[in-house]
């Protein structure tokens, strides 16, 4: 369908962009790559009176790698992540997850900030953000604040972002060398939304036992979640076949997916166990 009528502004500074968003009583939306928002407009799921284009805002397209971690500017595109060889060492889980994001053409436009703001329950980046305990830096009319991942995602397409706030940066804690990780996803066709996916990582102590296990899943609820029972089962254990089987069973038991036209709840529950199993097999290999 053709898009609904809206006004359009393309401010040059963050403060102008915030002022424009604040000026329309919550009826203005920020647009970056538009790869989620424009379909929402086409379906009339969203019909804002004003679109505020973020493309001219300076400095938001940078990938910064420091000792304290990896920071992705909101306007960083999937393509930029895949092309950045540094990330393969600095944060290989991000790079592994982004390989599953959408299609070739969409990766040339879609942005990290857009995906996190859109908060699709089956999207990869929100899942990695939650799994890694990343923080989301935002700026609004009352100033800047930093929101932890676990309180940012509040439901399907629902976040803690106020209508006048713009995501500026996603900050991931530093990734130690030697950390084990895996990202596994199942979709009906390549590039489609995940029916389920799992992101896992853990560190190993001197005795080869897992510590600091983090297990996050997407596609099996209204938001990405970490699975505390699975993490507890891994911490202190050797990640061998028996531990992986226990973790997979715990993952299936921990989620409560709904039936929808793409898959039944029972199928998704089984699938999420398989994704956790495969991700741990990959991590421990």
């Amino acid at each position: 369908m053709k898009l609904p009528v809206f006004e359009y502004a393309c401010p040059a500074t963050l403060s102008e962009a915030v002022a424009l968003l604040a000026s329309h009583d919550g009826d203005a939306k920020a647009i970056a790559g538009g790869q989620s928002l424009v379909p929402m407009l086409a379906f009339r799921v969203a019909s804002p009176s004003l679109l505020v284009d973020l493309r001219k805002l300076p400095g938001l397209d940078q990938i910064r790698i420091t000792e304290s971690g990896v920071s992705l500017g909101a306007l960083v595109r999937w393509r930029d992540i895949l092309d950045d060889a540094r990330l393969r060492h600095a944060h290989p889980l991000i790079a592994a997850a982004v390989k599953h994001v959408a299609h070739y053409q969409i990766r040339n436009r879609g942005t990290v900030g857009g995906s996190v703001a859109h908060a699709d329950p089956a999207a990869e980046m929100p899942g990695v953000v939650v799994t890694c305990e990343a923080t989301i830096a935002v700026t609004g009319k009352s100033g800047a604040r930093v929101i932890p991942a676990d309180s940012f995602f509040q439901g399907a397409l629902t976040t803690a972002l106020a209508p006048d706030e713009i995501i500026t940066e996603i900050r991931f804690p530093a990734w130690p060398a030697g950390r084990r990780f895996g990202f596994e996803e199942f979709a009906l066709r390549r590039g489609d939304f995940a029916l389920a996916a799992a992101a896992v990582f853990y560190d190993q102590d001197a005795g080869g036992r897992a510590a600091n296990a983090h297990v996050g899943v997407i596609g099996v609820g209204d938001r990405p979640v970490r699975l505390a029972t699975v993490e507890a089962a891994l911490d202190g254990a050797r990640v061998d076949a028996a531990a992986i089987a226990r973790a997979a069973a715990a993952a299936s038991a921990a989620v409560d997916p709904q039936d929808d036209i793409h898959a039944s709840a029972a199928y998704r529950r089984s699938l999420v166990g398989t994704m956790v199993e495969r991700a741990l097999l990959s991590a421990s290999a």
């Binding site: 053709k2 006004e7 538009g34 424009v38 590039g191």
Partner: protein, 160 residues
């Protein structure tokens, strides 16, 4: 709004509503009807064009967002009336039947081969997963793209 950008190497100035997609602007304002519009919500890939050399879905980009950019449509891949090596390969391999998806297939494959002239069949299939064809079953399209790789490997070669 008045927006200026380059289309196939020529500067254009258009006055459009903000809600007009780049795809509709190319077709209805600039009368470049080679770009096809299938689904209008970013699923089918028929509307793929190049923006600053990168393949994008022109139905998911507003015309006003193209301001200052270089847009290349399927019409712009060839400088004359002759077919490009990629287009010739599509003909040779019968990589189209109804032809509706073909402009998007060609622009996408052109971007891929320009960036990765040594890509393998799996990579071609991965990239073309973003373009829907309801006629061919894709096998002939993948063969055509693979067969055109040699044209992109020559220094200064390719479809330009």
């Amino acid at each position: 709004m008045t927006t200026r950008f380059d289309v196939n190497g020529k500067p254009v100035e258009v006055t459009v509503e903000p809600r007009m997609t780049l795809a509709d602007c190319l077709r209805h304002v600039l009368r470049l009807t080679g770009t096809h519009v299938g689904c209008e919500h970013g699923v089918c890939g028929a509307c793929t064009v190049l923006v600053d050399g990168a393949a994008v879905r022109s139905c998911l980009m507003l015309a006003v967002q193209a301001d200052g950019r270089q847009v290349t449509t399927v019409e712009g891949l060839s400088n004359d009336d002759d077919l490009t090596p990629l287009q010739k390969s599509f003909r040779k391999h019968h990589a189209l039947q109804c032809g509706f998806c073909t402009p998007g297939m060609i622009t996408t494959a052109h971007a891929l081969l320009t960036e990765e002239p040594d890509c393998d069949a799996d990579r071609v299939r991965e990239v073309l997963s973003g373009n829907i064809c309801r006629c061919t079953g894709y096998i002939s399209i993948v063969e055509a793209v693979l067969d055109a790789r040699s044209a992109y490997r020559k220094p200064g070669g390719g479809a330009a």
